[in-house]
Symmetry: C2
Subunit: 558 residues, 2 copies
């Protein structure tokens, strides 16, 4: 078993170093290009995905009492026709309980080796998983391969780094000796053992099922806890593929595959609550909407709860020396994955008297026009638009767009209407381009929550200071996962960074020439846990240190 | 300020090493003997304690709206006559909020240095605090100096070690660079900042007010959180003395002393709930009864909650080669601090057909008689009895003893009645010697909870296996902080250790020639957090890692 630990030790060591120094690094290949992979591997991955369609997904789990699953491709708007086990949770949990002792008693290196091997095999499975992610989450092929694939695997490895650090902080044994009064020396041999918490439920979201899926899996499994995946009903297949890998690796290593299982469901017959409220559930990782996330935080008292939800990510624009570069960068965020990312920008705060560009005043309307132009430029080439925007994960986003279009006309000014774009490969794809609305801060009830999908606001503030106050207040009270400031004024920049940080939000300044939604594994602490957009950072000691406990035994020796 | 960090760095480094290797070490002098300290220092400490009696305690805090406090000495049964500020919590919290930003922005080394200096000055204050602890918690002088003094300070330093480890795991800055597509290299300078959670409420218990008090103080304060002490109404003075030191050190270092405050109360007018339920309270450390502890765990959703409560600590006796040594060790636990310690033994499980001693069978009754004899031996010398037993923290323990005496007569057999012992220095001391009751496992409702005070059970099991099953089942379901096994059978010992560990309890084997209640700082992981006797270990990364979060700022550079 430890052979796997040795096989992957160089990767782990490099990841430990990257986390310590926080430079740019990836353990997995980010590009699906045939220049790297050749033609056969990508084609074989696609074929493997296609072979799964319209069939019972091959997952043998205890407690199967039927089949479930009703995924529909956002690209074809046709059902995938795949069914998954419908599970009797009590029967499943009994099997999981049976599987736990051997895993609890395995060495840290054994468990780490198995988790590293799982990530490695998932990396080899990225092509079929990218197609699965496209046709469930609606991501573009490249995003599905990179963001939901390699980048997410990096986050999983990062969680392993912290699990390993926390576990190796506990020695396995100690010799202890001291004298009490006249009784002579007391000598004790002590042994310390890591103990898991119990069953860990991993609730994945619809749009990026594995971005939190891999880290939560790795953090819990490495520390000895069995993991039950609860995929979103619209995005089961990407998760199922990972579950299959986990079970295969565990079984090869001589462990019970039921250490990693999946409970699939449909919107009509949800299974989540039964898992969350089960008395044997001891850890919950949740990615999804803030309302349900907060409910879990408040009510699931039997479990450790780690959430990543959503807020209203903002940009404060004060000044720039590169208007085109800035607008291109912000517009990229409005388009990328149809703004369905947890790092997508929604609220763009601009002073009513405009901003300084290279020392020249540029009006609010001119900045707004430049942003709209930048969006149009991103969308001009249909192939590029398809790669950038992907599709909408569900129909309700159209309702949001429609509602906000009406409201925007009444309460503000529509800068850009949303409409479908033609996806070259998929004529039936569910698509939408950015809706952009100009409002004043008086309309804050419109934008002080996440409006999931390609909806953004250009918010007129009385001054840059007023913009900053509004944006940071929203971050504190309504949550933020990413925040941006554009300014060439050193004093304002410093003040803005302090204001965001003190609101419990991380902040990025003057980003351009890169996708500003990008959160770098091993470098960016993703989610602060200090504002309503989540209570946990996926990538620190706190994410792992409580997932296990320590028991000891000491024995007196002569 | 960092001068203090440098002053204490050797101590911190040694403590880091001790925690890593878990050998025996102490940073503070455990003995109050005048052979070590001379005569003047102990006398001066006593004089300083006496000078506080019958007066307003000198603590200037915002929001004082009167005076409170009704402590009574368990040694004299006279009121101490000391009053403390009665506090308007809203006004106090406002002052604390004002104090927070400067502390949040201080460097890790500054905060660590101040915490180390606080512990150092508390060590210099141990004589007066020992007298304060005697006359509130009821401990003997030596226990008050060692257990509630030096040993508790060690636990505080231990918490600082883990806080330091967790904080220095986060780098202060990083350079990051990568290329996205055709856009050229993106270079970012990143800065990472530790952010406290918010106000930390430290609820101390009556019998060992500082055992958890120092660790919770250090864990929260070092990580940037202000600390509000909520002493037990019967044990305010030991806490007040520490609060005074904290405020003095903070002020000398140029920080607002309101970073450490105290809210005193009386049993009749309790103030705890207001603190626990205040929306600005973000961390709760609680030591006390399991019922209230569990209520806090279930209901204080706004805060991180760390509890140490109580269970029913057990001994399983299977065999021994040293009956006298074993009985002396167990009897010591029944007497020490009148069994009011979280590590005191209550339930002694012995097979009905007795045990093997050096290969000879010794009956249940003979073992019971030997245990009673060992208790008598410990009590034979009044001076030693006083040193060992101390006094009862309150009158309700007499009611428990009375009730259990009656019940024991009816449902089992009284092996030893409790009675007062004569405390040489204090004729009015509230004292009680161990009540020992023989029962069978059928009477488990009598002993499956903590009976606070000197009450113990010798529980007849059908076999050693039955004893072990009962004891470990109780640990799992009702909690345990310490557990003991006596056996010379290697196979049974291994099985027993596994059974306790798998029940979420730590276990000690064949301890004798030392106080078996002793939990060693830097070596023993105190409380597992896996059974109902508490949800936290005071001495691991999980105790500190969530007390702060991380925010970052990144800025694009050329």
């Amino acid at each position: 078993m430890n052979a796997w630990f040795e096989k992957h030790q160089a990767t782990l060591d490099k990841a430990l170093d990257a986390c310590e120094k926080r430079y740019s690094w990836t353990a997995y290949t980010e590009s699906p290009s045939s220049k790297i992979h050749g033609k056969e591997i990508p084609a074989a991955g696609k074929a493997r995905f296609e072979a799964l369609l319209g069939k019972d997904y091959p997952l043998q789990q205890p407690g199967e009492i039927g089949r479930t699953g009703a995924e529909v491709s956002p690209y074809t708007q046709e059902p995938l026709g795949i069914t998954y086990p419908k599970v009797d949770v009590e029967a499943l949990y009994q099997s999981i309980r049976d599987a736990m002792p051997a895993w609890r008693d395995a060495s840290v290196e054994t468990r780490m080796g198995i988790c590293l091997e799982i990530l490695d095999r998932c990396a080899a499975q990225l092509f079929e998983n990218a197609h699965a992610t496209m046709h469930t989450a609606g991501q573009s092929y490249i995003m599905a391969f990179a963001g939901s694939g390699a980048n997410a695997l990096d986050r999983g490895l990062e969680a392993l780094v912290y699990a390993y650090k926390a576990m190796r902080d506990v020695p396995q044994s100690a010799d202890w000796q001291r004298t009490f009064g006249a009784d002579g020396a007391a000598k004790l041999e002590k042994k310390f053992k890591l103990m898991p918490r119990g069953i860990s439920v991993n609730v994945c979201c619809a749009t990026f099922p594995l971005w939190n899926g891999y880290p939560a899996l790795c953090a819990s499994l490495a520390t000895g806890n069995p993991v039950v995946f609860k995929p979103h009903p619209s995005g089961i297949l990407p998760v199922a593929l990972v579950v299959s890998v986990c079970r295969e690796v565990l079984q090869e290593a001589g462990f019970d595959p039921n250490l990693v299982t999946m409970v699939a469901d449909t919107r009509e017959e949800p299974a989540t609550m039964q898992l969350l409220e089960h008395p044997d559930t001891r850890i919950i990782d949740f990615t999804g909407g803030p309302t349900f996330g907060e409910w879990i935080e408040q009510n699931c008292r039997n479990s450790l709860v780690y959430t990543e939800t959503a807020g209203c990510n903002s940009v404060v624009v004060e000044s720039t020396d590169n208007l085109a570069g800035m607008c291109k960068a912000i517009a990229h965020s409005l388009c990328q994955a149809s703004a369905q990312m947890c790092t997508s920008v929604q609220n763009i705060h601009i002073p009513s008297d405009g901003i300084l560009v290279n020392g020249e005043r540029v009006s609010f309307d001119e900045v707004a026009a430049a942003l709209v132009d930048a969006v149009e430029t991103h969308l001009a080439d249909p192939k590029h638009a398809a790669f950038l925007c992907g599709t909408l994960v569900n129909d309700t986003i159209y309702q949001t767009i429609e509602r906000l279009t009406l409201e925007g006309e009444q309460r503000g000014r529509l800068l850009r209407r949303s409409g479908p774009y033609d996806n070259p490969g998929f004529p039936n794809a569910r698509t939408a381009t950015p809706l952009m609305i100009a409002v004043t801060q008086k309309e804050s009830d419109m934008y002080r929550e996440e409006l999931f999908g390609p909806v953004s606001f250009l918010i007129k503030g009385e001054s840059a200071q007023s913009c900053l106050n509004a944006a940071t207040g929203d971050a504190r009270e309504r949550g933020a996962i990413t925040s941006h400031v554009y300014s060439v004024d050193a004093e304002f920049l410093e003040e803005a960074q302090d204001a965001y940080n003190n609101a419990g939000a991380s902040v990025a300044c003057n980003l351009m020439g890169m996708p500003i939604n990008f959160a770098a594994a091993y470098s960016d602490y993703h989610v602060t846990g200090l504002n309503p957009a989540g209570n946990a950072c996926l990538t620190d000691l706190a994410f792992v240190a409580s997932r296990f406990r320590i028991v000891q035994r000491k024995i007196m020796v002569d």
